[in-house]
């Protein structure tokens, strides 16, 4: 805790060096600010005084970071639980909403994060082997990948805000789901059919003002007054049914409307990706700090803990995205 005392002296390893030796900072050559705290460990300038060996210091930090990652898993567990329960209860909402997400952007972000995971793991290796230049390069690539991820996320978010795809009461999609290019490409017949249904429902609403029910914003429309043209085919009906756009009576659908509480998907989406994005931002901060630390050449075989811990954290962030990507973007 304080300056060397007679009691503290025996703690240091066998050959306690003379006080003069502690100032030279050891092989890393950067002991200056800390040298005084590391009394008796002149060969390890970054060994905190309450540890006996660099290995003990490393193991303690490692246990700490694993405990932290454990709490992180449980932290995200709450959101995964919300997702799981809501998807089990209302699968059609997820089918409906996933047409609004861009799988390509999600896939690009997945690859970017995976690449940054490699460079993070590589950086640990560089630190262990004292490969100074490669360590710097790998940290910079990791930061660049993380920034790319956030830029792509920014475009996704702003696009969604523009299209009215937001959480809770802010949910007011500008486009109907069957008008989306993704939907049209996947289910051309269904898109056409939905267009027809929507048109017919509008007409029916206009024609008999007395008979028309109050336009239900949510749920199925009980507008039974329209004559069915022809029995729709399976290709036309099934995608609409799966997305909750038409009610159970697929035999004779009379209108299309989005599934009830579709906005809950976007609440879950923004909460999960937002919390994950926050972790990425924090990760960028950590890597920038480590970049400055690495530039001073402090990392080596006896002191690479900070890089290792940051990489472990970074891998966990990647791990969460590995699950988020198929759960949010790849809904069949």
């Amino acid at each position: 805790m304080s300056e060397p005392t007679p009691q503290a002296e025996p703690v240091s390893e066998g050959s306690a060096p003379p006080p003069a030796a502690k100032a030279d900072g050891g092989h890393a050559g950067n002991g200056h600010a800390h040298a005084d705290e590391h009394h008796g460990h002149s060969e390890h300038p970054f060994l905190a005084h309450h540890f006996d060996t660099p290995q003990q210091q490393f193991e303690a930090g490692k246990l700490g970071i694993w405990l932290f990652l454990l709490t992180e898993v449980l932290f995200f567990a709450g959101l995964f639980c919300a997702y799981t329960v809501y998807r089990a209860m209302r699968p059609e909402v997820f089918v409906y909403a996933h047409y609004f997400l861009d799988t390509r952007l999600g896939a690009v972000n997945t690859c970017v994060l995976l690449l940054s995971s490699l460079t993070a793991a590589w950086a640990v290796r560089n630190a262990q082997l004292r490969q100074h230049k490669m360590l710097m390069t790998n940290i910079i690539i990791t930061i660049a990948c993380a920034c790319t991820f956030m830029v792509v996320k920014y475009f996704e978010y702003s696009h969604k805000a523009h299209d009215g795809l937001l959480w809770g009461p802010n949910f007011a999609p500008k486009e109907q789901v069957w008008e989306l290019p993704g939907f049209k490409k996947k289910h051309p017949e269904a898109a056409e059919y939905a267009e027809k249904l929507a048109h017919a429902a509008k007409e029916a609403e206009k024609a008999p003002p007395a008979a028309a029910p109050a336009p239900a914003a949510h749920g199925t429309k009980p507008a039974e007054n329209h004559e069915p043209a022809a029995k729709p085919t399976l290709e036309q009906v099934e995608p609409l049914l799966a997305a909750g756009l038409i009610g159970e009576k697929a035999e004779n659908p009379t209108g299309v409307s989005r599934p009830r509480n579709a906005h809950v998907f976007f609440s879950i989406y923004f909460f999960m990706t937002g919390l994950h994005g926050l972790h990425v931002l924090i990760g960028i901060g950590i890597w920038i700090w480590l970049l400055f630390k690495a530039r001073r050449g402090v990392f080596g075989p006896n002191y690479f803990g900070p890089i290792d811990y940051a990489a472990l954290y970074w891998h966990l962030v990647d791990l969460i995205w590995i699950y988020l990507f198929p759960l949010l973007y790849l809904i069949h």
Partner: protein
């Protein structure tokens, strides 16, 4: 390999060789390649219809394989202390418990919900 970190509390002989396992670069790059291939696979398999839950199950299996690779090699749990693996698996166990308990419970409130909806509909 796994127990090299146990005995050596006296750092003396280690010197500049370090005390933790260094993952070979070729292995790291290979894992990344596998992860990218699995990503492409999971995207492309989405367009195939595998039944109502089939696609979700396949996507989750692929994600879990990817997660396993990341944890085993990138997070070098393979060479790490067993205790860290147990810590991690504990968190996963509690995650699974949490999700499975919630999912078995999800329909318990349907009656109340239905009653609520009906009272709302009448109010309108």
């Amino acid at each position: 390999m796994a127990d090299h970190s146990h005995g050596a509390t006296s750092d003396g002989g280690h010197g500049d060789h370090g005390f933790a396992h260094t993952t070979p670069l070729s292995l790291l790059v290979g894992i990344l390649a596998v992860l990218l291939v699995l990503t492409i696979l999971t995207v492309s398999v989405t367009s195939i219809d595998l039944g109502s839950q089939g696609n979700l199950v396949v996507a989750m299996i692929i994600a879990t394989v990817k997660a396993g690779l990341v944890v085993t090699y990138f997070m070098h749990l393979r060479w790490d202390r067993l205790f860290h693996l147990i810590l991690f698996l504990t968190s996963v166990l509690f995650l699974i418990l949490f999700l499975s308990m919630s999912i078995t419970d999800r329909s318990e409130y349907d009656r109340d919900l239905e009653a609520f909806r009906q009272s709302q509909a009448q109010g309108k």
